[in-house]
């Protein structure tokens, strides 16, 4: 992360320089400050494709700069940016038929064939249905609350809780050593 400005300028000051003057250096500072986290989150949400994650991050910044004027600074810049990134990621997954609108029902899902070996946590997360994966990453990895997740994904907090419940159950199934549950379609709790 860049330390070019000392003391570091506030996100808001950088955003204003970008907005008012088209200041490239201000943009680069904002970019370097927030992109590593955004990229990691998006990378998980899209299922581990760096190429897709890069496309999403680029589009996120383009949309963010377009919407910056309307940002009220009631949330942190990072949270706002994350919301835009999730929307872009969701759009990409939806175009590929990998995102279904979240409702309070579990998505059909089958634990991966493990052939006796254990899979690591990142791989297990990547194998989850996209909706489960997004909620699990936002809640259990990034630490967002269900209300925040609901706002970012356009769902009710209760739906987020329910999705998380199913996501965690699926994750445990994916990580467990092969058992009699192998190959069983995930059932509603």
């Amino acid at each position: 992360m860049s330390t070019a400005l000392a003391p570091p300028a506030a996100d808001r000051a950088l955003a204003e320089a970008l907005l008012l003057e088209g200041d490239e250096r201000a943009f680069r500072e904002l970019y370097r400050r927030h992109t590593p986290r955004l990229f990691q989150l998006v990378l998980r949400v899209v299922g581990g494709s760096e190429h897709d994650a890069e496309d999403v991050v680029q589009e996120t910044w383009i949309r963010a700069t377009q919407k910056l004027e309307g940002f009220r600074w009631e949330a942190s810049f990072s949270t706002w940016l994350t919301g835009i990134g999730l929307n872009v990621a969701r759009g990409l997954l939806r175009r590929r038929g990998r995102w279904t609108d979240m409702e309070d029902v579990p998505e059909p899902w089958r634990p991966p064939e493990k052939h006796g070996e254990r899979i690591d946590l990142e791989r297990a997360i990547a194998l989850l249905p996209a909706g489960y994966r997004a909620v699990l990453v936002l809640h259990d990895v990034e630490g967002f609350k269900h209300e925040e997740i609901g706002e970012m994904l356009g769902i009710a907090p209760g739906t987020s809780k329910s999705q998380l419940f199913h996501a965690r159950k699926s994750l445990r199934l994916a990580l467990e050593p092969e058992t009699k549950e192998k190959g069983r379609t995930h059932e509603p709790a």
Binding site: D23, R25, P36, W61, V141, K161
Partner: protein, 194 residues
């Protein structure tokens, strides 16, 4: 017990710890930043910062640059002798003889270092009291032309490389502007210098 508490129960302590230990940040490719900046420049959201230091290359310099570059190649050997740059000429020979990408990459590194060293020496001399403005201008033109040629080759290697294509586009724009500028009578003499 709340619903949230029940859901917390779905995570074993080991799984909770493993999730907590996952990295929160990953640096994407440096090219992504350049790609994004380029897209934002193209849509007019940002403007490139003003060049605050280093050489400034007015568009008019570009008019004679191509001719100067050709002259360099024509009398390169002679110039090399004049400057005592035997090592550079050996590097040029190594480029021609390179039989692998590794050898070629080494040659690029060596000749690139020679280019930068020569430019540095030129900058020192150009700043000295006895320097000729015409010769300084001529040297700058040649430096830009070499830079453009290098960027052109980089674009050939990686057409999607935003850095190389950005440099090339900027130099091409400057060249176009230079071509629109009135002809400079000193420009024709520049080739003689080499």
């Amino acid at each position: 017990m709340s619903l949230h508490d029940e859901m917390d129960g779905e995570l074993t302590p080991e799984l909770r710890a493993a999730l907590a230990a996952l990295p929160r940040e990953t640096e994407p490719s440096r090219l992504l930043e350049e790609r994004t900046v380029r897209a934002l420049r193209e849509n007019g959201t940002i403007q490139a910062p003003a060049r605050a230091r280093g050489f400034r290359f007015p568009a008019s310099w570009m008019a004679g640059a191509a001719a100067a570059a050709i002259a360099i190649f024509m009398v390169g050997l002679n110039a090399g002798r004049t400057l005592g740059a035997r090592e550079t000429m050996a590097n040029v020979a190594a480029v021609v003889e390179a039989k692998s990408t590794k050898q070629a990459a080494v040659a690029v590194q060596q000749t690139g270092s020679a280019y930068v060293s020569a430019l540095s020496r030129f900058a020192t001399l150009a700043d000295s009291a006895g320097s000729s403005p015409a010769q300084t201008q001529q040297g700058r033109e040649v430096a830009v032309q070499m830079l453009r040629a290098a960027a052109g080759e980089l674009v050939r290697i990686s057409p999607d490389d935003p850095l190389a294509s950005g440099i090339l586009a900027a130099l091409d724009r400057a060249k176009t502007q230079g071509a629109r500028a009135p002809a400079d009578s000193a420009g024709k003499e520049r080739t003689v210098w080499f």
